[in-house]
Symmetry: C2
Subunit: 567 residues, 2 copies
Amino acid sequence: MTKHIVVIGGVALGTKAACRLKRLSPDTEVTLLDKDEKISYGGCGIPYYVSGDVAEAEDLQSTAFHMVRDAEFFRKIKGFKVLTGTEAICIDRENKRVFAKNAKGERLELPYDKLVLGTGSRPRNLNIPGQDLENIYSVGNLVDAIRIKDLIAKGNIGKAVIVGAGFIGLEMAEAFTDMWGIETSVVEVSDRIMPGNVSRPMARMAMKTMEDNGVSFYLNERVLRFEGNGPVERVVTDKQTLDADIVIMAVGIQANSELAKDTGLEVGVTGGIVVNSRLETSDPDIYAGGDCVQVPNLVDGEPGFYPLGSIANRHGRIIGTNLAGGQASIEGALGSFVVKLFDSSLAGTGLTLAMAQKSGFDAVSVRMGQLDRAHFYPEKDFMFFELVVERKTKRILGIQGFGTSGDAMVGRINTVAAILKYKPLLEDISNLEFAYSPPFSSAMDIVNALANVAENALDGHLKVIDHESVEALWLNDENSDSYFLDCREQLDAAPLLEKYPGRWHNIPQGELKDRIAEVPRDKNIILVCNSGMRSYEAQLNLRNLGIYKTQSVEGGMKMLKTWGSEI
Amino acid sequence: MTKHIVVIGGVALGTKAACRLKRLSPDTEVTLLDKDEKISYGGCGIPYYVSGDVAEAEDLQSTAFHMVRDAEFFRKIKGFKVLTGTEAICIDRENKRVFAKNAKGERLELPYDKLVLGTGSRPRNLNIPGQDLENIYSVGNLVDAIRIKDLIAKGNIGKAVIVGAGFIGLEMAEAFTDMWGIETSVVEVSDRIMPGNVSRPMARMAMKTMEDNGVSFYLNERVLRFEGNGPVERVVTDKQTLDADIVIMAVGIQANSELAKDTGLEVGVTGGIVVNSRLETSDPDIYAGGDCVQVPNLVDGEPGFYPLGSIANRHGRIIGTNLAGGQASIEGALGSFVVKLFDSSLAGTGLTLAMAQKSGFDAVSVRMGQLDRAHFYPEKDFMFFELVVERKTKRILGIQGFGTSGDAMVGRINTVAAILKYKPLLEDISNLEFAYSPPFSSAMDIVNALANVAENALDGHLKVIDHESVEALWLNDENSDSYFLDCREQLDAAPLLEKYPGRWHNIPQGELKDRIAEVPRDKNIILVCNSGMRSYEAQLNLRNLGIYKTQSVEGGMKMLKTWGSEI
């Protein structure tokens, strides 16, 4: 007997599930419905369409071989029926049927043997006055994206305000600034950009890159209302009023789980539909996956919400396999992410320090910077990483990276991501084998070095100071007992010695022993070098010479500068 | 009581071990001896010094902050004694002392509490007539490298012959051709380049890239002797005579384990010193690591020999930690590698199919190609991977990659490398989470897709044909019963339809059902598209329509072209 499968939602998960199923089980009848006319598009590509990197909206909806994935494509090539403009209204689980309404307002009744929910997610709403003014957009679908680009292309947009400094907000800020020269401000309610994804020091380095490229940021600031007459003209926050010809609302994403909830399926604390590792909902005849579900975090096991096209695709394949009688499953997700910010990128996976602590881990994090390849190789970039480690067990909980080295940095994040589910310890990262050749890595790769630094810190050999604290000490030097000691060679230290006579001191690491008398024993010695390596050695040497009150500036001058220090 | 540590060898392992030890235990007395004058250099950088990418030999011996790592550097900055030009002659284990000879021919006697062997490796020798002629070099140390570069810089080198197509041979071939315009030939005794590291199809793609850049290759060819009067003039192989102004011998590397063997330490089948996971030799007072040891392969547990600067550094740190009373260990190695070949690179980790089969695995491998990032993103490259899988368990044994996407490709190799020791299955790779954003990856990353392809093949859904077989069928078409069917859209297939009327056929994948009558039922249908995806779907569709004798060309036209097909 031929089975009937109904799929609700046709962006990433639904189409993937249907395609996989039809490949494995060509006789199964599949009907997919989606409330929009445009389906199966790469929503993550929207900022690149707005920027102009992607020329046509259709490109986001095309296959790699330039066929548009519309209803006709799926019918003809993939062999299943697609009803666009058709919204599922409710599910009658008892009688196994979906009630829907098409574009003409007609009511449809679709019986199913198995049902797939790929209802996706939608942008969150702030519910504040003026949000219905013209030219206020979220970046929720291709139709919005086309409107935004049309508006910009007309040339009437001089100033943009973006509300929210998550992925989409930052990507849109780059698109506006870089390609269109629009004066762009980002307003973020928390104390950093990418607040749910990275630590404050990492966020600040990334933000500084964007500022250097012309984007303005207003942190710790809440948008109260929008003002204007027809089109939006002003954004009023709790601290100021910003002029705006366009506003992008990017304050987060929420699962479209109402349909599931209404029919009595279990919905979790994240707002996502609860599924098991086979992606079955609480009703075994109903699968769900992608942006509308909740899955466990692979590090702490907590319920997570991971609205990413990549995860939706993977879920789609698993559901397709299982619908065809196979046995596919997925244990959870990590929330690996990357966001391109002009010539830099910011990425991460697993838990941040804050997330780890919230989950009850006694965790610490260390940061360092190093070149992405052999220091003698002509083309190279600095990159910075932060590793989150459980103190007692030395278990790795997460990692974040930032730098100009793009793929090289992201490759390392992916490498650590791959082993997180195996509960790796520091020594596993310390011994990770990176394919080595000078054009691709250092003999001691930065990730290995990062684990070593963490071990040195946890074992008490290395005592670091972060940039915020360095900056505070520096700016408050009059009352401070801190002594800034540059451990680099004289030539490297010279500019700062000249700029800050009497405040900046220099003893090259190799001369420390001979010149130990110059080091004040009653002060807090702040040791600094280029990357943190020589200052660490200086710290050990000083300890050996009886000077214990020292701190090594994490990541050295390289990281301090990237962070945006005044020094 | 202060311990005395003697370290023999000061390239990567020895200096790293000594530095780490001195950091943890500043009071320990350390003496390091090396037979050469130049120590602690990045030997892997030699080809880049010869090419001119690295300007000065000294750069390979410098720290990231431009200090030359010579004896004085280690004495002054790291606090241990270095005796250069001092060769260890023998070890008296009973009385715990090392006998050595310095540059002046004086005999030294060095007592030790613990000894570290970092004697490294040396280039293999062919032992054939004429090998002592002038201008025949191996690339064993910095002194050789300086001589080679001096010779080239004088402008007297028009033709070079490289014996051996491993890493060093290929890197030197690129250096000669790319930067100096030298007419370069590579003679390799086996049937492919990088014979110990990659499959024949992967090797051929890499070789073609080098050929396109002007390097000539002679495979399956054995060098018999060198001829010349003073300097080398000719290389005589079993098939031809090649003119040569310079010859690079790059026929492999062997461990310098004689000193260890002479003193009765256990030496393994690979020629490397046997060590345990703490890097102790069969004498617990003697540690060894880096290029002179044998360690287990992390995939099959077989003894392996991994002469890489990266592994030597890691070993050095472990030995340093253990000498200081710590507990550090390493389980083995994977043999991850990468080699840059002009604008492309070739990388891999774990076992090749041949290695896996030799180790007793019933293994298969699948290959595929895909873009490194979202297909709609403007900058992107194709990359190709081969995955080696145990048939029954679906356990992943190794992966190789090739392409122009450099860091992006290598990042993926490193990602798979990271989990190999956990004995991952196909589903672990299928579900691997890659940080997703259009500028960095596809929603379905190539590594995920690769695992899916392997699963489809192992489950019997996908039946592929490799390029060598396609080529053979194509070139031998008169007697063949094969029918070449292009599944792409008409526009893509048009050039080949025109070039091969009657031999090349085209039915776009979506028209297959309607035009099924055109497909001959008595022939072997060779299905081809751009990447192998549409031809796979066509295969499934044909099967569903009762046509079973089909093969899908792996990696499609993209891979076939990169491989160098005549089609």
